[in-house]
């Protein structure tokens, strides 16, 4: 099987897996316990937890780090924290579908909205369906100019943004365990979940120490990972696929190397089914919206895209994706297009 849907979720890194199992087992042998207790093993957990938290603080340069259960939870906390949150209608549903969200048609209209009153602008650093890289530095400065704050959902980013007021990190998108994420910030965050005093009163619930340890392991791995790996894979793909199928050729933006969106007039589900027959896993939109039939909504924001092209598939690479796998995919995709276009003629 060739798995090319690493943006939906990726396999757990070996280093993260052994860390998780180690902590689970050490818990079993009495080294760790619920961090809320007053005895030694509970204290061990509390100390270890803060060590892990400090690592994330250092990586992100942010003084507050709250561990949550998923990026959706982190994003929802932003909406609970602020009176007004502005985002675009093409963001991940965990922001764009929030009933409180003020949706922009385009980032071009942002300044107009920021001028009105102080608010938080929430955006994905890398778009989860298209791989578009948002210019977070410019957006950060624009927000600052209008005394607004910026929240960057870095779930799909392989390099963390230099500056942000709030930052969502997801573990299972970067090779860490699923079921854990973080929200980093420069100020204490209002809680959604109430209860015990865990996470400095910002998020109640017993912390999942084994998962957090695996998550931090994965963050460290990602930071050290040689990102030219993704560049090479994308280059190979670009060399083999006709440019008209590459979404990035219809826009001025920069695009990430690890997420590639391919567009055509053929139904995405048909391409995905063909790929599945050939043992290749690709995505039609993001996993969260892939049940929906409306395809990739964001394609409507690409002005240069021909009218008849409204279908996209997403190919995303992981740390271990090989050149051979990429080539195999290209070969199959070309075969599909060849078959379909000749039929269409």
């Amino acid at each position: 099987m060739v798995y090319l849907d690493h943006a939906a979720t990726t396999d757990l890194l070996a280093c993260a897996k052994s860390k998780i199992i180690e902590v689970f087992e050490q818990w079993g042998s009495g080294k760790y316990a619920n961090a809320g207790g007053l005895y030694k093993s509970a204290n061990n957990s509390a100390i270890y937890l803060e060590q892990l938290r400090n690592k994330v603080k250092e990586m992100t340069n942010m003084p507050y780090v709250v561990f949550t259960s998923c990026a959706s939870e982190s994003n929802n906390m932003i909406f609970n924290h602020a009176k007004k949150v502005v985002t675009t209608k093409y963001e991940h549903p965990s922001t764009a579908k929030n009933p409180k969200a003020i949706l922009l048609d385009s980032i071009k209209n942002l300044e107009q909205e920021l001028e009105k009153e102080p608010c938080i602008f929430s955006i994905c650093g890398v778009h989860h369906e298209t791989g578009q890289i948002r210019n977070t530095e410019t957006l950060y400065n624009l927000c600052k100019k209008h005394y607004c704050k910026i929240h960057i959902d870095a779930s799909q980013m392989k390099t963390l943004p230099a500056q942000a007021d709030f930052l969502t990190l997801s573990s299972h998108k970067i090779g860490g365990p699923i079921g854990i994420a973080a929200l980093c910030s420069h100020e204490p965050i209002k809680a959604i979940l109430f209860g015990g005093k865990q996470e400095n009163d910002m998020r109640a619930g017993t912390q999942a120490l084994p998962l957090i340890s695996g998550f931090v392991e994965a963050l460290e791995y990602m930071q050290l990972f040689d990102k030219t790996h993704f560049q090479k894979l994308k280059k190979a793909l670009k060399e083999q696929i006709e440019p008209s199928y590459m979404l990035e050729n219809y826009a001025q933006d920069n695009f990430a190397d690890h997420i590639v969106c391919l567009v055509s007039q053929f139904p995405a589900s048909e391409i995905a089914a063909f790929m599945d027959m050939n043992n290749i896993a690709v995505a039609i939109g993001s996993a969260c919206t892939s049940g929906a039939l409306d395809g990739m909504k964001i394609l409507e924001s690409f002005d240069n895209l021909p009218e008849n092209i409204r279908n996209g598939i997403r190919v995303s690479f992981g740390y271990k994706t090989t050149l051979a796998e990429t080539n195999y995919f290209c070969q199959k995709l070309n075969a599909f297009f060849c078959k379909r276009t000749s039929k269409a003629l």
């Binding site: 939906a8 396999d11 207790g37 007053l38 549903p93 998962l211 589900s269 995905a272 896993a281």
Partner: protein
Amino acid sequence: MKYFDYAASTPCAQEVLDQMQPYWNEVFGNPHSRSHQYGWESEAAIERARTEIAYMISAQTDEIIFTSGATESNNLAIKGFVFGPNMSPTKRKILTLATEHKCVIESFLHLKNSGFEPHFLPVEKSGLINLEMLEKELDDAAILSIMYVNNETGVIQNIPAISKMCREKGVCLHVDAAQAFGKIAINARDVDLMSISGHKIYGPKGIGALFVSKMPRVRLSHLISGGGQERGMRSGTLPTPLCVGLAAAAKIAKEKMQEDFKRAAKFQKQIIKQVVEKMPHIYINGSLEYKIPHILNLSIPYVEGESLMMRMSDFALSSGSACTSKSLEPSHVIRAMHPDDEDLAHSSLRICFGRQTKQNEVDELIASLQKHITELRELSPLWSMVQKGIDLKTIKWQDH
């Protein structure tokens, strides 16, 4: 370290870890991915897990919603209900007990800001709620949130009887079953909403579930919105290995329920015989009759709970629940059970027995308790006054 804090958390069982293993990096697809086998396989594993959990509490598969833990389940049940479509706009009264877990109490307190009227009902000395009083209180109430088994005392509330009253009065019943699930047989059909935890039953941390009844149908507004997973009530990618782990732990808990219960009962009996009955002025908090033996809560007057724990640092014990014990406040649970005797709350000690508890550990615990209670009491001026027959309640303490 001799671990006696199984109510705070349990170690993840090896069988559970083993069953989770393939879902970390073999069957690892996003269960919401619709376009490939990786996603379908994960989804199938999650649905199997859901069915197994549902089966244990006589629920239907789609009545189980996965969350990140019992705290989230409780928050979702309470806030989701009062802001949801089932909530009558004329009802403002919401009920819970004074002895609930902090996450329920805090959620209720927060709802005050939204115009709701939280009532924290008192309990009897036994820790049980007075059903006659409850019946009166249920009038005009929208929801009752109650713990099946109390996390500090182990007291079991009469959920079937309470359920009947709630049904008659049209009150939504939410039961926090974090300490009951896997320890005693429970039936979700009695309730509208029920919270379940993974790490209290030798399952993984970071996973829990909420039973949301479909018969009668209960609808909740979400706390976390987004992709619309879990019938729109809880968005976010489901963690396949953790869901599988929760189901595996639940299955083992069911198989070992009697064995676990008997072991705990044996150890509880020993502590009662050797400590409570042998030493003067030691009280068991909560009704022995309606209590699980896995949790034994003692009040040891004239001994500060914390000083005792510090002396017994070899033992993992707690003076209350893990969520609140760091604050060094006396237990709100024991306080609610004995409103006229503050001392009992200050000197409470929770002892929990679990699957790994060994006889020799219990023997050591008994010896250590006997030794340190005696020593600490000898240091206490209050104790010597009591020994001389002075009733401390008659003393007028002077403020300085």
